[in-house]
Amino acid sequence: MSELAISAKGLTRIFGDFTAVDHIDLDVKKGEIFGFLGANGAGKTTAMKMLTGLLSPSSGEAKVSGFDVYTEAEKIKKRIGYMSQKFSLYDDLTPEENIRFYGGVYGLNDRELKDKKDELISSVGLEQFRNKQVGSLPLGWKQKLAFAISIIHDPKIVFLDEPTGGVDPVTRRQFWERIYEVADSGITVFVTTHYMDEAEYCDRVSIMVDGRIDAIDSPSGLKSSFNASSIEEVFISLARSAERGDG
């Protein structure tokens, strides 16, 4: 079990009479890039919220970084990073101030903060924007900064919720290069996306339909078992069977 970053069995979340996530089983290995795919409304965000401790599951079990989501949420929180779908830095603060703030939130001390600040700014290449308010930065830069900040505390796992939404192809490419670097450094990356080409970059992907995980394998494994030439085809053939509407 110890080489698993995330393991879930029968994880379920019910809102009223609506089962958003319906008994999903999931294993994510340490250090891998795991693509978490699904149409809009398939239950991805709800599943992710359960794994990050934002929502408590209705039933089932899950361990993140070896800790139970019911009883050890606080320990999990120290070991995960999270980048939400919405852009979540403060627009009216500079990159440095954002780093300082989130670093503080994740419990870094002054010396660590100082080191991290310079390290992050140069790793993202933000020297020129150092003293500008984040609101005036191009979206691609903001996303890179948000990603860098989500791993400021060297987490074991980082959750990325559609990190490249609305970003141009060149920046997306750069973003994925960063994801590879991060994965190489030993951090497990759990990423949702709507871009099927990005799914091909992942070590393994799962595809969610109507709250269930209908397929989980490596991209090449999926393609051969569905007899498809791309992940996009696999996705479309699965999503077509969905009963829930878009949204």
């Binding site: 627009d91 603060l93 308010q133």
Partner: protein, 369 residues
């Protein structure tokens, strides 16, 4: 601790960079105090009045003289007969006509009484009331005077009225404590609820909730800057009140700040509560304005005395924190009262504060489920 300081520093920077917030925070108290201080006054000065003197003797002349030198009145018309009264009222300038009956002085001496009729234009009932009571006071003063001089026969019982704590009946003395309550509500509750919902709307809150930071640190971190700013505002209002409007301050400053902070904490808890229910900034703003500011203005006794409200509203006013705060602050500022006299109100305020803190903490946690 680092996280906590980071929070406070961040919050101050954001406030400092947002001109709109700055204007609301620092412009509002000054504008409101000036407006309320200068424009809204219950006392009347230079109200135009007319006289219908059917007697024209030395007593009526003296009375008319007394009326016309009063700062409250400006004697504007001498009428000749009753028909003219309605005419001048219709013209609208004259607010009151004082009528002295025939043979006024004679009757006063012989029968020991003479009639003065006071007719007011009650289209503005407040004004009519005030003007009428001023006139009554001036006439009573005069009667007192002639009684003392033994000119007339002593007239029965003479009430001796003394207005304590605010002898000049200055309304600004009454408004300043109310304004402190309104402004504190505005800044503490409205601004906090807006700034927390903004974090929700922008998605920052999600990140903070995923972080190891404990929820109550998030709340305290958000709230501390507004607590400090509110205290600064209390000081601003006090300074303005003292040096521009000469409002007295008879009590202890320490006790006053203690009570103010108690009220600020209540308001902050309300702000946090609203932000945990409201999904966006507009809702938070509407909820704060309609749900907090209006009751604070209307039901606390700030403008309308609680005693003159219908019973159901009087009952409702008991859960309005501003009502208790107003009683406390008015007593401290004007009467110089201390905890010895105000412990009951303080206790009630503290209880309301605790109740709202508990409620908002609970609500805030529920969101994490």
């Amino acid at each position: 601790m680092n996280a906590f300081m980071g929070f406070v520093v961040k919050e101050f920077k954001q406030i400092y960079r947002d001109t709109r917030t700055l204007v609301v925070l620092f412009g509002m108290p000054i504008i409101m105090l000036t407006l309320f201080g200068f424009a809204i006054r219950n006392e009347v000065s230079n109200a135009k009045i007319g006289v219908l003197d059917l007697s024209k003797d030395e007593v009526t002349r003296e009375l008319i003289q007394k009326l016309s030198v009063s700062k409250a009145f400006e004697l504007n018309a001498y009428l000749d007969n009753y028909d003219q009264i309605e005419e001048v009222f219709k013209q609208g300038e004259i607010k009151e006509v004082v009528v002295f009956e025939n043979n006024f002085a004679n009757k006063l001496v012989k029968e020991g009484k003479a009639d003065v009729q006071v007719i007011t234009d009650a289209t503005d009932p407040n004004l009519a009331n005030i003007v009428q009571s001023y006139t009554g006071a001036i006439i009573r003063d005069y009667v007192q005077e002639i009684n003392d001089n033994g000119v007339a026969v002593k007239a029965g019982i003479q009430p001796s009225v003394q207005m304590m704590y605010n002898p000049e009946l200055k309304s600004v003395n009454l408004f300043v404590p109310g304004l402190i309550a309104v402004i504190l509500m505005l800044i503490s509750a409205l601004m906090t609820s807006i700034s927390i919902t903004r974090e929700k709307e922008m998605g920052n809150m999600e990140i903070l909730l995923v972080s190891p930071l404990k929820p109550h640190y998030i709340i305290i971190g958000k709230v501390i800057p507004y607590l400090l700013l509110s205290v600064v505002n209390v000081i601003t209002i006090l300074v303005l009140a003292k040096f521009i409007f000469n409002v007295p301050f008879n009590g202890s400053y320490g006790f006053f700040f203690f009570e103010s902070i108690l009220f600020i904490v209540t308001a902050l808890a309300l702000g946090v509560f609203i932000s945990s229910v409201a999904q966006n900034q507009q809702t938070a703003m509407m909820a704060s304005l309609a749900g907090l500011l209006l009751p604070t203005v209307l039901l606390s006794g700030f403008i309308f005395p609680v005693e003159s409200m219908p019973l159901p509203l009087q009952v409702v006013s008991n859960i309005i924190p501003a009502k208790w705060f107003l009683i406390i602050v008015r007593s401290i500022m004007l009467k110089g009262s201390g905890l010895l006299f105000l412990w009951k109100e303080t206790l009630i305020l503290a209880f309301i504060a605790l109740a709202f803190i508990a409620l908002s903490l609970k609500k805030f946690k529920v969101r994490l489920q």
